[in-house]
């Protein structure tokens, strides 16, 4: 996405001179803002009349009783519930903190998840944002979204709005094969249907839960869904499936087409002005 703003012109060095030679001391020292947005993201955000307010974060850990991972049948419900509770608790804290800072939402939420044998850990960090026009009232609850500020801008331009983060998780046992099946299949190249079916079962439950969260938020759908699936490293017969995304709904009367403009770059393959010195 590019901006239709005036591109850097010959006045750049004059602006730099003005910035460095005519320092302005802030009169209000209580209005500091913090954000983990890049300057590009902040420019995108401001182009639609929003601004960053504060860097917010939240953490939750939920315990999982010992011994549930290795033997059993069907879904490991206590682990699925622990994941859901940790995610909900962390999201609730994040949104509460953003609300206390006067924000209308949180964008660019980084989600760190870790599933251990005896607990689930979810940690969230993002930037709380609000409309520059402070008279705009909050028409719905404070939202949290893992969309970048650029994607948030694109979404709003298209007439949609984020409502919150939705997550679904399911951990399922792959039933152990009988002794005879194990011996029979020892020298065969065959599909292990117990693992395939367990994966499908986990997928259905997790996706269902995520969609139910979206419906609870009165959303039309979930965008930017990321999926984490596979065997659990510490439990040989358990598989997990976790889906996370941002719930959205149409805010305008109809979808606004963004009508992308096709561009042909005349640049060399070498990227110009890539800040290599950034840490």
């Amino acid at each position: 996405m590019t901006s239709a703003a005036t591109p850097p012109g010959p006045s750049l060095s004059n602006q730099v001179r003005r910035a460095l030679l005519e320092p302005v001391i802030p009169t209000d020292t209580t209005t500091s803002t913090t954000s983990d947005l890049s300057i590009d993201e902040e420019l995108n955000l401001r182009s639609i009349g929003w601004e960053p307010v504060e860097l917010v974060s939240a953490v939750s850990l939920q315990s999982i009783p010992y011994g549930f991972w290795n033997w059993g049948q069907g879904e490991i419900e206590v682990a699925s519930r622990a994941h859901a509770a940790a995610f909900l608790s962390a999201t609730t804290r994040l949104v509460r903190e953003a609300g206390a800072a006067g924000a209308h939402g949180v964008v660019g939420v980084h989600i760190d998840r870790a599933v251990h044998p005896t607990f689930v850990e979810v940690s969230l960090v993002g930037t709380a944002v609000r409309p520059v026009d402070r008279s705009q009232r909050l028409s719905r609850g404070v939202f949290a979204s893992d969309l970048s500020a650029r994607d948030f801008t694109m979404l709003m331009v298209a007439g949609w709005e984020p409502l919150g983060l939705a997550s679904g998780a399911s951990f399922v046992f792959a039933p152990r094969r009988s002794m005879s099946s194990t011996l029979q299949q020892q020298t065969q190249n065959v599909e292990l249907t117990n693992f395939t079916e367990a994966m499908y079962s986990a997928r259905e439950s997790a996706m269902q839960r995520m969609q139910e969260m979206a419906i609870d938020m009165h959303g039309a759908g979930v965008v930017d869904v990321t999926v984490h699936e596979g065997p659990m490293a510490f439990a040989s017969h358990a598989v997990g499936f976790v889906a996370v995304g941002t719930v959205v709904r149409l805010a305008a009367s109809a979808h606004q087409s963004i009508q992308p403009t096709a561009v042909v770059s005349l640049d060399d393959p070498t990227v110009a002005f890539d800040a290599q010195t950034l840490a």
Partner: protein, 304 residues
């Protein structure tokens, strides 16, 4: 920390006065800096090797509650609900801020920062761009090396017009940004002030409930069954983030922090003894003009 001017090695003073510049900028960033009227004058660096001799309370500290209350930092106590007094049962727990760790870290960072600033001042620089900071273990004896480097720049034709005669030289501004990203910062109406970095450290001595839950022993006599939140760890994790954010925020004095990066690490020092550290860094910037609204972004599809 106040660093005496003669602290810079004599060889470094000679090298910096030799007349050719060095820089850590890529060619692209170098070109962008020249466009902005910023001319590189030298790659400036600051080092400090800190020995971590007094890192923790040690095993003797355990069992002396409330230890951290006297330090004036964050402290939170947790009391066992079982009324059991045995050597194995952790009848109390505590989360506390390790102020001495934060002070030591600050000393190391500030020393390296001051030395890098001193080099920039000796070159007559107005600012330092593309700052990179790193902390690495220098050996296996608890020594941590703080290293800050960046490219000192001067504003073209600025010294004659901007600095009044006999005025004390001001401290050069600094930023992690360089090249086009720095140019966009200026165009957005911000002037760089300084890089900001801070740390917070919280130690957690778990009590019986935390230990049971972390081990998965959710049994009725531990007052917990099924899944439940591990409050002591959650408190420690949230506090270590809150402490570093509030410290950085209080240092901004009305300015903004751009491109913040929050890192949190956890380590288990011993059974039931955890340490959480957070580090927040970013660019402190100051608005010098009102923001001029951009047009609504236009989406493009690249055909190359």
């Amino acid at each position: 920390m106040s660093v005496p001017p003669d602290e810079m090695p004599e060889a470094a003073q000679r090298r910096l006065q030799q007349g050719s510049f060095s820089s850590g900028l890529s060619v692209a960033d170098f070109g962008a800096c020249l466009d902005m009227g910023l001319e590189p004058v030298g790659l400036v660096q600051g080092f400090c090797a800190m020995h971590w001799g007094a890192y923790s309370m040690g095993v003797l500290g355990r069992g002396v509650p409330p230890f951290a209350a006297a330090q004036g930092g964050y402290v939170q106590n947790y009391q066992c609900p079982h009324n059991m007094m045995t050597a194995e049962h952790r009848s109390w727990g505590q989360n506390y801020q390790q102020g001495w760790i934060e002070d030591a870290w600050r000393t190391g960072f500030n020393n390296a920062y001051s030395r890098r600033r001193q080099e920039a001042q000796s070159l007559g620089a107005d600012g330092v761009v593309g700052v990179v900071d790193a902390q690495n273990p220098l050996s296996d004896t608890g020594v941590v090396e703080f290293h800050l480097r960046g490219t000192a720049v001067t504003l073209r034709d600025a010294s004659a017009s901007s600095t009044p005669p006999n005025a004390a030289p001001s401290s050069p501004w600094s930023t992690f940004l360089a090249g086009q990203r720095l140019a966009k910062v200026f165009e957005a109406g911000y002037a760089p002030v300084t890089i900001v970095t801070s740390v917070a450290s919280v130690r957690m001595w778990s009590y019986c409930i935390t230990e049971f839950l972390l081990d998965g022993n959710n049994v009725p006599w531990a007052n917990t069954t099924g899944s439940s939140e591990i409050h002591q760890v959650v408190d420690a994790q949230n506090q270590v983030r809150d402490l570093v954010r509030s410290r950085v925020r209080s240092s901004l004095h009305g300015d903004a922090l751009l491109g913040a990066h929050l890192e949190v690490s956890a380590r288990e020092v011993a059974k039931g003894d955890f340490e959480f550290q957070s580090r927040l860094s970013g660019n402190r910037v100051r608005r010098f003009k009102e923001f001029e609204p951009l047009g609504v972004p236009r989406a493009t599809v690249r055909l190359s």
